[in-house]
């Protein structure tokens, strides 16, 4: 599904975000990427949806080298990869339903299919009853659910969640991770970056730990911290 081959990323200011990262994520996996702030977790995620390019190395998504992808092909890659952010990135003037529909609207879906699909994903994230609410009328957890619904609306093969619980209280964080887990059970590959030790330790999924831009640990049923 996703493959990093000796990927190094050095930003123009000289900061090395990733060092010779080699990583393979197979279809239907659930992977936690953990590590301190500034260890390159977000850079790694951004390379999957071609928001960043590596300085050296290759990134393959579904077997295609995204680093050599032409600019006009990138939107189609992004329709196959759903992305969820810590800050939700919802449009404040739009309702939950409109925020989700927006993703279809701007990618040229037919209006008939669109309505049906939006209702489906809102139901999946448990927000069918709140479809008409604007972001400021929703709790942080609900906003993150809308964000997840928006990421799912294209039926992505891969869902990337970059610190999805960073702005949430422990209970809501747990709900969101449970939701991501359900989405994974239904067939979507899920990659989550997090600092939330409790959640990683309870779920016991694959854990990839980064330190100074390099992978220092990759365990199939890992914990947040090593050595236990």
């Amino acid at each position: 599904m996703v493959e990093f081959q000796n990927v190094t990323k050095i930003y123009p200011n000289g900061v090395t975000a990733l060092r010779d990262v080699t990583l393979r994520i197979t279809a239907r996996e659930f992977v936690f990427i953990v590590g301190a702030t500034g260890t390159g977790k977000s850079t790694l995620m951004k390379m999957i949806y071609r928001e960043e390019l590596p300085t050296s190395g290759r990134v393959l998504v579904e077997g295609r080298d995204v680093t050599r992808m032409r600019a006009r092909q990138i939107p189609f890659l992004r329709r196959r990869v759903g992305v969820v952010f810590e800050d939700f990135r919802l449009l404040p003037r739009k309702t939950a339903c409109e925020n989700v529909a927006f993703a279809l609207e701007v990618t040229g879906a037919c209006p008939g299919q669109e309505d049906e699909r939006v209702q489906e994903v809102l139901a999946v994230v448990g927000l069918a009853a709140r479809a008409g609410a604007r972001p400021d009328e929703l709790s942080a957890g609900e906003q993150q659910r809308v964000s997840i619904a928006r990421a799912l609306v294209h039926r992505p093969l891969l869902l990337l969640a970059d610190e999805p619980t960073g702005n949430l209280d422990p209970d809501t964080s747990w709900d969101i991770v449970q939701l991501l887990s359900q989405i994974n059970v239904r067939g979507t590959t899920v990659v989550v970056t997090t600092h939330n030790k409790t959640i990683v330790d309870i779920l016991r999924r694959r854990v990839v730990a980064l330190e100074g831009g390099a992978i220092v640990r990759d365990e199939p049923r890992g914990l947040y911290a090593a050595g236990r």
């Binding site: 949806y49 071609r50 928001e51 600019a71 006009r72 990138i74 939107p75 189609f76 890659l77 992004r78 329709r79 196959r80 992305v83 990135r89 449009l91 739009k94 309702t95 339903c97 409109e98 529909a101 927006f102 993703a103 609207e105 701007v106 990618t107 040229g108 879906a109 037919c110 209006p111 669109e114 309505d115 049906e116 939006v118 209702q119 489906e120 994903v121 809102l122 139901a123 999946v124 069918a128 009853a129 709140r130 479809a131 008409g132 928006r150 799912l152 294209h154 039926r155 992505p156 093969l157 989405i183 239904r186 067939g187 979507t188």
Partner: protein, 324 residues
């Protein structure tokens, strides 16, 4: 944007897993089902939302296009006069006073015999005064003012083509009965030179001012893009194509340029109409193009120019937000 279809239906949870292993061929970039209506609606909304900046951009565009439109109207008028003069393939040969009918008839025969001369028409002193009276209108009555008719009798010589006129004029000057010869070609040539200068200066001024308009429109659109950067960011992340993101801003730029051009057309056409009517009151024979002819010719050029500047300005403004 409100969406009629966004009402909770209470649908049962269904699978959101990938529908099939191999992706279907995606819809072509920038050709969504809702397409043009969406782009126009978003463009109009952006233009209205950007209120003051849009008004400023329209005003600047209008001012720059006014200069261009003014130059176009002047060039068109001068062209029209030159063509009129060139179309009059004739030379006026003015006679000395006091010639006998025999001398006049002899001169007529010699002029008619010059190479390229197609016709020679005699205009008596009385006819000349009548023509002058007709051309200035009844505001001034020469019969009351003049004790003696000062206008000379003349022959109007028509040639087979304009290039013959200088030779015919110089040959006619050699006859002793001839007082003076009036040939319009040197004047037409001078006018043509002036027209060329006006055209070049007008084009240079137009291009320089168009650059100013371009920068202003780009700044106005950049504000819109900046105000909507969150939306643009989400669009990029969910897989909207660059052309889909760009189109509403191009529409907004086209509206800005088009509005500025329409305002400039109204002012140029109005000003030309006033000037043309005023000029005709004093000089009824001045060959000016009709106001509607000028308005039509200037309007499509200015609108095309304005819309092009608007679209180009938008492209410049949006470019950096669409880098992937």
């Amino acid at each position: 944007m409100s969406r009629g279809g966004c009402t909770p239906l209470g649908a049962e949870p269904v699978s959101h897993a990938p529908a099939d292993a191999r992706p279907r061929r995606p819809r072509r970039a920038g050709r969504p089902s809702r397409g043009i209506r969406y782009f126009v609606a978003e463009g109009v909304q952006g233009f209205r939302r950007n209120g003051v900046m849009s008004a400023a951009a329209v005003t600047i565009t209008m001012v720059t296009l006014l200069a261009l439109g003014g130059a176009l109207a002047v060039v068109m008028t001068l062209d029209h006069i030159v063509r009129h003069l060139e179309g009059k393939v004739e030379v006026a040969v003015y006679l000395r006073d006091g010639l006998t009918p025999g001398q006049v008839a002899g001169l007529h025969t010699r002029l008619a015999g010059l190479p390229g001369v197609m016709g020679v028409v005699y205009v008596s002193k009385e006819e000349a005064l009548d023509r002058l009276q007709h051309s200035v209108g009844r505001g001034v009555d020469f019969q009351d003012l003049l004790v003696r008719n000062p206008l000379p009798a003349s022959f109007i010589i028509t040639a087979d083509r304009p290039s013959r006129l200088p030779a015919v004029a110089s040959a006619a000057r050699e006859f002793p009965e001839v007082e003076d010869v009036s040939d319009a070609t040197p004047f037409a040539s001078r006018l043509l030179r002036v027209t060329r200068i006006v055209r070049v200066v007008g084009a240079a001024t137009g291009v320089a001012l168009a650059l100013v308009a371009l920068i202003i429109i780009a700044s106005a659109i950049r504000l819109t893009v900046f105000a909507r950067r969150a939306e643009v960011e989400v669009m990029r992340l969910v897989g909207a194509t660059a052309s889909f993101i760009r189109w509403p801003f191009l529409v907004e730029g086209a509206i800005t340029g088009g509005c500025g051009a329409c305002a400039a057309v109204l002012i140029v056409a109005g000003a030309y109409t006033v000037v043309a009517y005023g000029a005709r009151a004093f000089l009824p024979d001045l060959p000016l193009p009709a106001p509607e002819q000028v308005a039509l010719s200037v309007s499509w050029k200015l609108v095309l120019w304005g819309v092009s500047i608007g679209i180009l300005g938008s492209l410049l403004a949006v470019r950096r937000y669409l880098r992937v």
